[in-house]
Every structure is written in structure tokens, then in C-alpha cells.
Symmetry: C2
Subunit: 154 residues, 2 copies
DNA sequence: TATAATTCAGACTCTTTTATCTTTAATTTA
DNA sequence: TAAATTAAAGATAAAAGAGTCTGAATTATA
């Protein structure tokens, strides 16, 4: 698992909000929760963290919810991943060796650096604008089979 | 964290055993534990799993310990990783979507597949023979600064 | 045979992650 | 102003991962 659950939920929710059409300002968390089949309270916490990182804005009361804090092309997947998982995924040695580096590499250092750079690059270059376009066209999917059913809880 | 702690400890211990010189048959777990600064009991469990997966052989009593069950060139890092972390790391969608695949990809599907293939390839092509060679030559390091000190526990 | 060295096996604890539940605060609308 | 809707905040619980502890089984050696 490269990304935590928190992080994948956050990515999905943000993509969901970004690909909403209509003049509506804020999307209620409960609606996101139902559509993506994610626990409402858990999702609330995740979105709170995204608002403190200035990726989302939130608003309370009727017609409240969350919305993107910037234009979609200004938010990369990397921004969201770093806000929720930090950058401990991307820095440091695969084997967890403290002294691992270019001068004294661990056995996996070279191949891992190469893979990691590709991953980082794709996370940075993917932003909400180009992704939500693909989602709206139906070329990409945000939710799986699980939302044929509705959540029982919350 | 791509690999669990269990897995990185297992990799290090196996590399340590593979790069031992001398005519000695079995390497005591306690010695591995001390050299790599890994909790003895925890390491014991990990190595037990590697013996059940036929990567290590073990022997009890004085002069006992563990040794490789095959020749070093027959054991790849991938073997060890799969034995300890399974292949849940390598299969499935980064975002955890059940229906994600070539026909209905999630937003990260393409870039993740590419990165993942590189990682898998480097894990499969790296075996204990070529790595322990590098370790013995001093080009690669298996342990960090932490083993300048000895463990207090166990 | 007694003792020491070693892995094996299981229960147990601690920490982090994931998830749920309850209450409070803000906001709109009737 | 009262009621309904919504996010915020905090307490709690459940599950998994990481690590510890104790005792039993096996083996070599004195």
C-alpha cells in the first residue's frame, strides 16, 4: 500500500468535487460520503485536513459543504497526497536504512530512486482539471461497484 | 511505506546471511539481531515465516541458526517480499477501486501501472547472489549507524 | 545425564490507522 | 425566533502492525 486509506479517500473525494457540474457552490460531505461509499465521519475528518491545507473551503449550515479552494488546474494530486500522507512516502530509503544515500547506497537504492521519480512526476503532473475532464467524459472512473448499494451506517 | 517493517527486516536479515563468509553452516538469529539492531524475538518470527516459505532452513540447539534454503542466485528479493508482505502491494488499484482495470481505469491507472512494473522488475531481477557480492565488496551497505551501539533489550 | 544454546510457539502489550458515535457551533429558512 | 441542515470537534472503539515476554522442544557438548 503506497497510499494510506485516508489519502485515497481524500483523492477520490476531491476528484468527485472537482468533477461536479452545475452552479452549486458547496457539495455536502454527506453526499460525497454516499456517492463514494465512504464513512461520513471519517470523510469529514479527512476533508477538514484538506481545508486546513487550503485545498478545500468549507461552509456550515444548509447549502453548506466543501468546495475547491483554488481552480482545478492549480491543485495537483501531489498536493493532496502530501497534505494527507506527508512526504515520508517519497523520502528515505526503501529498506529504512538511516545512512542510505548516493555515497553509501543500500542494495535497492538505484532502482528505487528511478521508480520513485516516475511516481512523483506522475503525481505532480496530474491535476484536478485534466483528471475531472476525463472523468466527465467517462474515460476514467471514480467509484467502483460498491456504490450500487448505499451505506447502512451514519 | 511500500514495504512493511517486517519485510524490510526480513530482507536485511536474508542479505546478512547471504553475505556471511566462512564455512559455518547456520547463523544464529541472535547474532543477526545484534548486527542489524533488530529485536530478537520479532526477527525470530520473521525468519520462521521465511523457513515455512522454504527460503531459509533452520536448526535448533547449539551451533544452530538459519541458513539459505537455496543457492543465493535462486532467491530474488521478490521471493522474500512476497513471502512476508504477500502480493497485495503489486496487485490492484492505487486508489483501491474494485472495478479498476484496462477497460475502466481509475485516474492514476496508467502512470501507476508503469511505475509498478519497474518496481516489480527490479525486485525480481535482484537476487541474493549479486547483492551479497556488492555488499562484500563494500559497495553496498546493509546496516546503518544504529549498530555502532548495541541493543539493550532481549 | 546435566547443562547450555538455540529455534518454535503462543499469548500478550503497545502504537498507529481506521472507523464510529456524540455533542457543539454555525447558518439558512420558514 | 424556532427548526432544520450542515461542518467542527472530541471521545471512543475496532483492527492491524510492531514489538515483547515466557515457556517448551530440540540439539550439542561436557
Amino acid at each position: 500500500m503506497l497510499l494510506s486509506k485516508t489519502c485515497t479517500y481524500g483523492l477520490l473525494a476531491t476528484l468527485f468535487v472537482a468533477s461536479q457540474k452545475g452552479e452549486r457552490d458547496y457539495v455536502p460531505i454527506r453526499e460525497i460520503s454516499r456517492q463514494l461509499n465512504i464513512s461520513f465521519h471519517f470523510l469529514t475528518k479527512i476533508l477538514q485536513r484538506l481545508t486546513t491545507h487550503n485545498i478545500m473551503n468549507s461552509y456550515r449550515g444548509p447549502n453548506g459543504g466543501v468546495r475547491l479552494a483554488k481552480t482545478p488546474d492549480e491543485i495537483s494530486l501531489m498536493d493532496i497526497i502530501q497534505a494527507l500522507d506527508g512526504n515520508k512516502i517519497f523520502e528515505g530509503c526503501v529498506l529504512g536504512l538511516p545512512g542510505c544515500g548516493e555515497s553509501t547506497p543500500c542494495p535497492l537504492h538505484q532502482s528505487w530512486s528511478q521508480s520513485r521519480d516516475i511516481i512523483i512526476h506522475s503525481f505532480m503532473s496530474a491535476n484536478l482539471a485534466n483528471m475531472s475532464q476525463e472523468i466527465q467524459k467517462g474515460n476514467l472512473r471514480i467509484s467502483g461497484m460498491e456504490n450500487w448499494f448505499t451505506r447502512k451506517d451514519d
